[in-house]
């Protein structure tokens, strides 16, 4: 057992921090506010220029062959600086890692280097209006026609589809297969495909997610990702776990903890002591979550894909973010309800509280995560299937 970072990891962290100091500028935030998007193409390009996109991938696919721990350090430092990396995540973690885990050689050669160079971004399209927590209840149809697949149906709640290049789409390719988890396939669909209509849905977070309508969207066969009809197995074995482990926001938690401590540092009133104590408790939990997060990354580095632990770090960090934002709002009082960059902490306390649903529900609701942890991690029995009506 050894909790020391390697010199390479320490140097990497220093490099990241230096980069963030220079590149995460007020202008960046102004740009994103103007565009109403969480994606900043120029900043993404600057990450690519450093070779930091897909840094855990093999060199032959444009990666740097670094560890998942390096990736965790990358997230921490970027989040600590509030750098815009949502699209980075969807491209690298959801799409890229899936391609690497179960894509074809051709797909790896096509997608990974392009993602790594920042030329191609991707998003993950799983949820449908009727398939939320019951994610396998997919109705979007994929029909094989010669050298193509034809997709018809709907997806919903996709962040970033409006300006990404490819969507990784889960579709029902064999409706005759027994049981809803059988007969699902994954496709890498160019988002500019004819017949694919992307409409924004406004969220209370201030940005839009999307609903996508597939009307005879034709996808060349080579973009079938993974084994035909066995997409659900790939999703649950890999993608959902990548997603859950990948969206843990430890860096954000550490930064907000520091900011709140700074806010409280001056106060000498009795109430500020009790707030400081609440903050201290939360920061202890955050540091604990940080080390759980390192352990999850390390498990991935050992070649494992830990389902229960990935759900744990996801639900834990989302709930810590909520509690931290609640505490921030309690500290700030009325000012904690004020929107915008002129508000204390640039309005981030208000923002995270208002948009906490994104963190709680994205990647699966807390209820779903707990069921996974109980059944996969603790080995508790599944609920018996209800009698069909």
């Amino acid at each position: 057992m050894d909790f020391a970072f390697t010199d390479s990891q320490r140097e990497f962290r220093a490099e990241l921090r230096e980069f963030a100091r220079a590149e995460v500028t007020p202008q960046l935030f102004a740009d994103m506010e103007r565009s109403g998007s969480e994606y900043h193409p120029e900043f993404h390009a600057r990450l690519a220029a450093r070779g930091w996109i897909g840094l855990q991938w093999p060199a032959e696919f444009g990666g740097r062959e670094l560890s998942n721990l390096h990736a965790t350090i990358f997230y921490e430092e970027m989040e600590y600086a509030f750098a815009p990396i949502s699209r980075y995540r969807t491209s690298v973690v959801f799409v890229g890692q899936s391609v690497l885990a179960f894509g074809s050689e051709r797909q790896k050669r096509f997608f990974l280097p392009r993602i790594a160079r920042g030329e191609l971004t991707g998003v993950w399209m799983l949820t449908e209006p009727g398939a939320g927590s019951d994610a396998a209840a997919i109705r979007l149809r994929a029909e094989e026609q010669g050298e193509e697949w034809v997709l018809d149906g709907e997806k919903i709640f996709t962040s970033g589809a409006q300006d990404a290049d490819y969507g990784m789409v889960a579709a029902r390719s064999d409706p005759a297969a027994p049981g809803k988890t059988a007969g699902i396939s994954l496709f890498l669909v160019p988002l500019a495909s004819p017949g694919l209509d992307i409409r924004p849905i406004r969220t209370i977070g201030g940005w839009s997610v999307n609903q996508e309508f597939f009307d005879g969207v034709r996808v060349p066969s080579w973009l079938l990702l993974g084994e035909k009809h066995r997409g659900w197995q790939a999703i649950t074995r890999y993608t959902l776990n990548f997603e859950r482990a990948g969206i843990a926001r430890t860096g954000t938690l550490l930064r907000l903890g520091d900011e709140l401590a700074r806010l409280l540092a001056g106060g000498t009133s009795a109430s500020s002591r009790s707030l400081r104590q609440r903050l201290a408790e939360l920061r202890a939990e955050i540091v604990a979550a940080r080390w759980l997060g390192y352990r999850v990354a390390w498990l991935y580095d050992q070649g494992q894909v830990p389902a229960a632990e990935s759900s744990m770090i996801k639900v834990l960090t989302a709930e810590l973010l909520e509690r931290l934002a609640e505490l921030g709002a309690d500290i700030l009082g009325w000012a904690g309800m004020v929107r915008g960059r002129e508000a204390p902490l640039a309005g981030r306390v208000e923002f995270y509280l208002r948009s906490i649903w994104f963190h709680l529900v994205g990647g699966g609701t807390p209820d779903i995560q707990r069921s996974i942890i109980a059944q996969t991690g603790l080995g508790l029995p599944r609920e018996p299937a209800p009698t069909s009506k």
Partner: protein, 374 residues
Amino acid sequence: MDFAPNEQQRMSCDAARKFFAREFPPQRLRQVEQEGLAAFLPVYRRMGELGYLGIGIAERDGGAGGDWLDLTLFAEEAGRALLPTLQITSVVLGANALLVLGGAEHRDRVRSLAAGASVIAPAWLEDTDESREQRFATRAEESSAGVTLQGGKRFVAGWDVAQEILVVARRPEEETSWVLVPRTVAGLFSSALRLSSLDTLHDLRFDSVALPKSAELRGAWNTWLDALDGAKIVVAGWAVGAAGAALDMAVAYAKLREQFGRPIGSFQAVQHRLADAAIALERAVAIVRYAAWLRATERAGRREAAMARLVAGRTLRQVAHAAMITHGGYGFMEEFDIQLYFRRARLLEWLIEGPALQQDIIAADQEDDGLRIH
């Protein structure tokens, strides 16, 4: 003891609920979110005409009669509809404070406020911790012409549609006075703050604002605290009303929405979360109505007002959260109504006075018989 509303209370609540369903459906609320309080004024004036705004103020004082319990039951209906809280600041606090501070000479003003014909914005918060001590940086100093106001107030509600503000200020002799300031006076500067709820509050600055002597009202500090106590109970009513509506929406959604081949409301996780919300709500309604009744019957009740305010605020937050979670990803969509409740929960927890101050008020109660009844 009788926990059922009487015939008249039932009819009034029913009428109010129908009025709000007709005049203030969610699309109207969304319009107010976009356009500001001005878009609410037509409804507000109509409420004045119907006597809703004047509940709890005697007819001889320019109100519509009814007692604090009637007002709080009405507030529950207003809260269900997520009505903007202009009535609370302008009438329940503003007009009532004028009555106890200024007395008879403000009857016309009160009548106008209770009719919804005019709006007053009480301004008492400053950049310090909430407290019931008289520690204001804003000063009212006597001048040859009358009184001069210097300082600032924060988080003033209703300013955008108010004709005047009621400023709590300190006199040089350390007493408190209340100063009526017209919107258009020289030396008054405002800056807007947009809240999570999309309500707009204002910070105000008074740069040697000169006012006539008649603008200054005097009174005992306790009368102001008593006015705050009353307003808090009404906010608490608003909060439990909103919580009730949010719970209803979540229950309806949980019955309708299916996942895994069954309504999500048949899952224990959903059931237990909503059961906890229901417990919190029933408990909150019980103490809010009790506190309102105490005030209506002019029994003691500062402690109970604080308790009702505190419990109701917590309850709305818990219930709105449970209701949002029940909606899954749809809770995050602007087009779903449940988010309207969620985004207002903290505002309704803090309006008039926030939770830490309520804890202090309750803790300050020295009587040691918890069994006491009134």
